[in-house]
Amino acid sequence: MVIVLAVIFNLPQTLTVAGKTFYRPVIDFSLLGRRFSRSLDLKLGLDLSGGTHLVYQADTSALPELDRPKAVEATRTNIERRVNLLGVSEPLIQTAKVGTDYRLIVELAGVTDVNQATSLIGQTAQLDFRLAKVATPSSEADFATTGLTGSDLRSAQVQFDNQKGASQPVVGIEFSPEGTKKFADITSKNIGRQLAIFLDNLLVMNPTINSAITDGRGVISGNFAVDEAKKLVIQLNAGALPLPIKIIEQRNIGATLGSDSIHKSLVAAAVGLVIVWIFMIVNYGLKGLLADIALVVYILMSLAVIRFIPITLTLAGITGFILSVGMAVDANILIFERMKEELRWGRPLKAALELGFLRAWTSVRDSNASSLITAGLLFWLGTGPVRGFALTLIVGILVSLFTAITVTRSLLRLVYGR
């Protein structure tokens, strides 16, 4: 009892803090070697923040089935690198497999110029090798182009250099016959100089040429970590062999539409809340007031969970949340009506209180279970905003079960218990 009260009295306090940006703590700690970090910011969906949503279909028909996931992943990394050039905060780039098709989903919050975004993403990667003109190059101007480009590359892969110890990964590259000629020419003339690798005009690596290479094979040895080497290989392969991609869905939402919607939803939420408050007090008096307090706890807790997971809030998600405010008091209504009946049947007040909770439980459980089933299906089958709505609804149902039962019961015991 004391513990429950402590939890309840504690939760709102810390959660109120979570509701105000300036006091909000940032969760960031390590547990069993895994970093755990949450900024607790509310994540707004594209329909609220404004932005661009793009879905690409990757054409993998030229590749054997086994190589497809790798090529798609390489394309994703490639797109991510390009999107980062746009300076978008937290771009979202996902791959999805639908049937036998591979899709790439790109979400760019705040980007409203679709043309800029699509042309940037759709361009093919430009890989080229450039020679350093000075010993310690500091800018792009310090490199000279060599005419050796991604089209001269056949493949790249992670290898391990035995001389430097088995754990030292290097990147092996293989040129096409024509590339082999060019590469041999460049390397024999420029031993000791740096031959830089540029992707889309960005410097990736600048290894030093150790010897002339005539067999069309090269090794880029830097002090790579395994991940770094893998990443470079992906980029090199992507630069050399980009998958053709085609836009199959694009949505662009202006920012004004979003902020307008947020404002209206907030007003609707406030009005809805007040109506429910009044409704409960008019119908159930003091008990209703206690349920209203539980409702506030519910709102704070759900918001905390939404921030914590974090769930991206969309317009549909907010609607789901407002709807859940109405549904959250359902359990309380079931319980209070049951109490009224128990009282009518002549039970003493305290017994009626406890029986109300006990006997209403089966219908509370079953009705919420059915809602959870449909919300779960929505989450499983839905895409994008539908999933956001489903997740908000699931959080709402679970949290409301806790607040409507545990919180309200504790409050009732506190008030009527004496």
Partner: protein, 288 residues
């Protein structure tokens, strides 16, 4: 004491039919107005001084399928297909004062997939709910079958789905309302909620059955309905009140989503009291 609901069960069914018939009629006659979410295509929302969009589109060989104007010089244009370059050229042709508010383009593959998933979701939800209720009510005394409870709940649920879909076919014809991904979401939420109400009634029937061995099944259901009427109405009322707040104060873009929820939940409350329970009575009484 108990209100004799069962006496009027045919009246209740008739009221349902009264709402269902126009809906089903428009569903068959006009079909649903599917949005680009399902059919594929392009939607462009722009704010601009009035212009002859049809002419500009045909000059550029674009298939403009509809123009809907709303407040503040805002127009919603639908194209068969339009890419970003085409849209830029189109906007340039209208004039310099075009503000793009929304641009959505969906390929036909994505649309077909969404439609398939939507049907699958409704089907699976119904099956899952029958199974859950059958399991949850398994302790019901013989000769009553928990499967009949589940099936009755689902019939009521499908009734609600049909009411919403039917009315939206009508709205589609009259107000040009489109069925989009959000509508499917609303439909599934209605499904969850419809059963919510039905369970409240059935739960009380389950509790009362062993207590009243001498009454007929019909009487037990009447008694249970009378007992739970207030709470059924109250639980629905809170949701209907919040939805009304959303309808009045909420944004334009979720308006029809809220309307779908409102209709579905109202229908859900009605059908759980006046359809699901009488149906169960009809079904269980036939056995003897």
């Amino acid at each position: 004491m108990a209100v004799n609901f069962m006496k009027y069960k045919w009246l209740f069914f008739s009221i349902s039919l009264l709402v269902l018939i126009p809906g089903v009629f428009s569903l068959i006659k006009y079909g649903l107005r599917l949005s680009i979410d399902f059919t594929g295509g392009t939607l462009l929302e722009i704010q601009t001084p009035a212009a002859d969009f049809k002419k500009i589109a045909s000059d550029q060989n674009l298939e403009l399928s509809s123009v809907v104007s709303s407040s503040d010089n805002t127009y919603l244009l639908r194209f068969k297909h339009l890419d970003a370059t085409g849209s830029a050229a189109f906007k340039a042709a209208i004039g310099p004062d075009v503000v793009e508010k929304r641009f959505e383009s969906v390929g036909p593959v994505v649309g077909a997939e969404l439609a398939r998933r939507a049907v699958m979701a409704v089907g699976l939800a119904s099956l899952a709910i029958i199974a859950y209720i059958a399991w949850s009510f398994r302790a019901i005394p013989k000769p009553y079958s928990s499967w009949k409870f589940g099936a009755s709940a689902v019939v009521a649920l499908l009734h609600d789905v049909l009411v919403v879909v039917g009315l939206f076919a009508l709205f589609g014809h009259v107000y040009h309302v489109e069925i989009d991904a959000l509508f499917v979401t609303a439909l599934l939420t209605v499904i969850g909620f419809s059963v919510h109400d039905t369970i409240v009634v059935f739960d009380r029937v389950r509790e009362n059955l062993p207590k009243m061995p001498r009454k007929t099944f019909s009487q037990v259901v009447d008694f249970s309905l009378t007992e739970t009427l207030v709470r059924s109405l109250n639980t629905s009322l809170t949701v209907i009140l919040t939805l009304t707040a959303l309808l009045v104060f909420g944004g334009e873009s979720t308006r029809w989503f809220v309307v779908a929820l409102l209709i579905g939940i109202t229908s859900g409350t009605y059908s759980s009291i006046f359809n699901a329970a009488p149906l169960l009575v009809l079904w269980e009484s036939k056995q003897k």
